[in-house]
């Protein structure tokens, strides 16, 4: 009962000291708004990454083995030459493996008369299309015949096709790679740029044999893509692959792998890790800004109490206990903090919405900021309100009634 009356008095106090209320609210509002935006961006990135991984052609039953030790996309040795077509053949012999795609990769200039562009050239086998499940926009994919006869044919992704041919139809045209001409036999369907700026369409494909004999003049592979029969068999398949490759590469028991795996889970984990690191930093920043907000509340409340000494004295004269005064000012600080929180969430949501709307950053709105800000604001109000409130309560009523 008493608690509600003091709450009422606090509301009245806030209403009557409007400018102080607004100033106190601002500090918290900014902190909470940034917190809201951060959470929304974090969730947005996670959501997009999930869909991007699905787009990368990594079905849950496939993974890649890349030459060179290291982790995921980072290798320590650039020129590992140990992985060969024989490795790929041995892997295909595994009972749980459905498809194996050995690959060579080279970034280079590709030229159509006066037009040229830099792109990634992959030497692959015809199974590549099956493993990726990538449809053709026009023409055909590389055939077994192209592979065995080391034909100089090329399949273009949407990006190099656009850059080299503008509005023309590239089908059947000749392109130059180094000193050889290749005929365009097919066009891949466009996938579109991912949020991280990775362009899956920026690629061209030629037969692996052609790549080895005419382009790279090397026999070792960049990577092998392995598709298992079933996603549940991926872990055991990876282990079997590891054993075969270690044996083929004559690695001693103590030597570390000279190859590394890329799996959908691995990518997800990496993305999550970097996102968490970013999130931690941003949350630190917004916590600091919330602390600043709290200190603003405390300072303004202290000033406000000095202005309201007489009011406190009057209340004490007519029977307010110290605890009543404490409660009233605590309520004021908590209410102001919550008000700031509500406005901050509102502002944060608007910003998040705008970021998504104008394609700046992906955002995803959840219940999290609402709960977080409610908890944070109540705490801030209590922690930073207690000192001013106690100070108000312990004013001498006799002196405060006389103050001007």
């Amino acid at each position: 009962m008493r608690i509600f009356k003091n709450l009422g008095q606090a509301l009245r106090g806030l209403r009557l000291n409007r400018s102080n209320t607004v100033l106190m609210t601002l500090g918290v509002m900014i902190g909470i708004a940034s917190l809201t935006v951060i959470v929304a961006i974090g969730d947005g990135i996670k959501t997009k990454v999930l869909s991007r991984i699905a787009n990368m052609g990594f079905g849950p039953e496939s993974f890649s083995v890349i030459a060179g030790a290291g982790r995921m996309f980072f290798t320590r040795s650039k020129n590992t030459t140990s992985m060969t077509v024989e490795d790929a053949e041995d892997l295909l012999a595994l009972p749980t493996v459905r498809l194996v795609v050995p690959r060579q990769r080279k970034s280079m200039q590709i030229i159509n008369k006066k037009e040229f562009t830099n792109t990634r050239v992959y030497g692959v086998t015809p199974d590549w299309q099956l493993a990726r499940g990538w449809k053709m926009k026009d023409g055909d994919f590389l055939s077994d015949n192209d592979l065995t006869r080391r034909k100089r044919v090329i399949v273009l992704g949407a990006t190099p096709a656009r850059k080299l041919f503008k509005d023309q139809d590239p089908m059947g045209k000749m392109l130059r790679l180094q000193n050889n001409y290749y005929q365009v036999i097919g066009l891949l369907e466009e996938k579109g740029m991912t949020e991280s700026g990775y362009d899956p369409d920026d690629r061209t494909l030629i037969p692996l044999t052609t790549s080895m004999s005419r382009l790279t003049h090397q026999t070792h592979l960049h990577s092998i893509k392995v598709v298992a029969l079933d996603s549940s068999q991926v872990p055991e398949t990876m282990e079997a692959v590891r054993q075969i490759l270690r044996r083929n590469h004559n690695l001693s028991v103590l030597a570390e792998d000279d190859f590394r795996f890329i799996t959908p889970e691995g990518i997800m984990q990496r993305v999550t890790e970097s996102e968490q690191a970013l999130n931690r930093m941003l949350i630190l920043v917004s916590t600091v800004s919330l602390l600043v907000g709290g200190i603003v509340i405390m300072n303004i409340l202290l000033v406000s109490i000095r202005e309201r000494v007489r009011e406190i004295g009057i209340r004490r004269c007519f029977g307010a206990r110290r605890s009543d005064i404490t409660m009233q000012f605590l309520f004021e600080s908590v209410l102001v903090s919550l008000l700031g929180g509500i406005m901050g969430v509102g502002l944060g949501l608007s910003i998040s919405f705008a970021l998504e709307r104008f394609d700046v950053l992906p955002t995803h709105i959840t219940m999290e900021p609402f709960i977080l800000s409610f908890v944070f604001c109540s705490l801030i109000g209590l922690i930073f309100g207690i000192h001013p409130a106690r100070k108000a309560a312990f004013l001498n009523p006799e002196e405060s009634i006389r103050s001007q």
Binding site: R2, N6, I314, R316, C317, F318, G319, R321
Partner: protein
């Protein structure tokens, strides 16, 4: 029975090592229904005496029994309750909450009452009507004249139905017409059985009381009954 019983009250303030003795051994008894004026020049200790009487501060030494209860040693909680239930304050500077309507100002003591009555608004309206402000219920202090503001404070002092009205220079900020009005209100309250203690330095105001206590240098200089004839003469 004495409603207020002060025995050898001393009050001193310590300030940077100096001790100022404001009240020196004040002994004072006031009966229920008494109409008492406390007069004295400024600095004599009137306000300090009132603060102790009103339970706003505690005596340094001595015994203060209010309505049979030794209040000198009560904790904040109990002391606040005594203020809330037994004493109604009227101040020279009115001390109304700014920006708050007359109605709400009058009901302020009930915010802190232990058992507030159910018909709070009704009571506040009645009291404001009694002081002639039934047309000013929803005005804030800034919209009221000095006289009206003082009448609001009187209504506020009465809302908890206290036994003692403590008025500190109630006419000090008023013109003579409003001053007379205010004093009439007090004169009427005596008839209702309230105990009124007026603190003033105005002889004319003091004459309204039945008993005048004069304070000088923190001590009671004189304590005299005012005869009826004298009262009439002074008017």
């Amino acid at each position: 029975m004495n409603l207020i019983e002060m025995n050898s009250i001393c009050k001193s303030y310590r300030n940077i090592g100096f001790e100022t003795r404001v009240l020196k051994d004040v002994t004072l008894h006031i009966k229920e229904g008494d109409y008492v004026s406390i007069i004295g020049p400024s600095g004599a200790g009137k306000s300090t005496l009132m603060a102790i009487m009103g339970c706003l501060s505690q005596p340094t030494s001595g015994e203060y029994i209010l309505d049979g209860e030794e209040v000198g040693k009560l904790n904040d909680r109990k002391l606040s309750r005594v203020r809330n239930e037994k004493i109604g304050f009227v101040f020279q500077a009115f001390h109304l909450l700014p920006g708050v309507t007359a109605m709400e100002n009058v009901t302020l003591p009930l915010v802190y009452a232990k058992n507030p009555p159910g018909n709070i608004k009704e009571r506040a309206r009645e009291l404001l009507a009694k002081v002639g402000l039934e047309h000013r219920l929803h005005h804030t202090p800034g919209q009221l004249s000095g006289g009206e503001q003082q009448r609001v404070t009187i209504a506020r002092s009465l809302i908890n139905d206290p036994r003692i009205i403590l008025a500190d220079e109630p006419t000090g900020n008023l013109d003579s017409k409003n001053g007379i009005e205010t004093m009439k209100t007090f004169d009427n309250l005596i008839k209702e059985g309230k105990t009124i203690i007026l603190i003033t330095h105005d002889q004319e105001v003091a004459q309204h009381a039945d008993r005048i206590i004069s304070i000088r240098d923190g001590q009671i200089a004189s304590d005299s009954k005012v005869s009826h004839e004298e009262q009439i003469r002074s008017l």
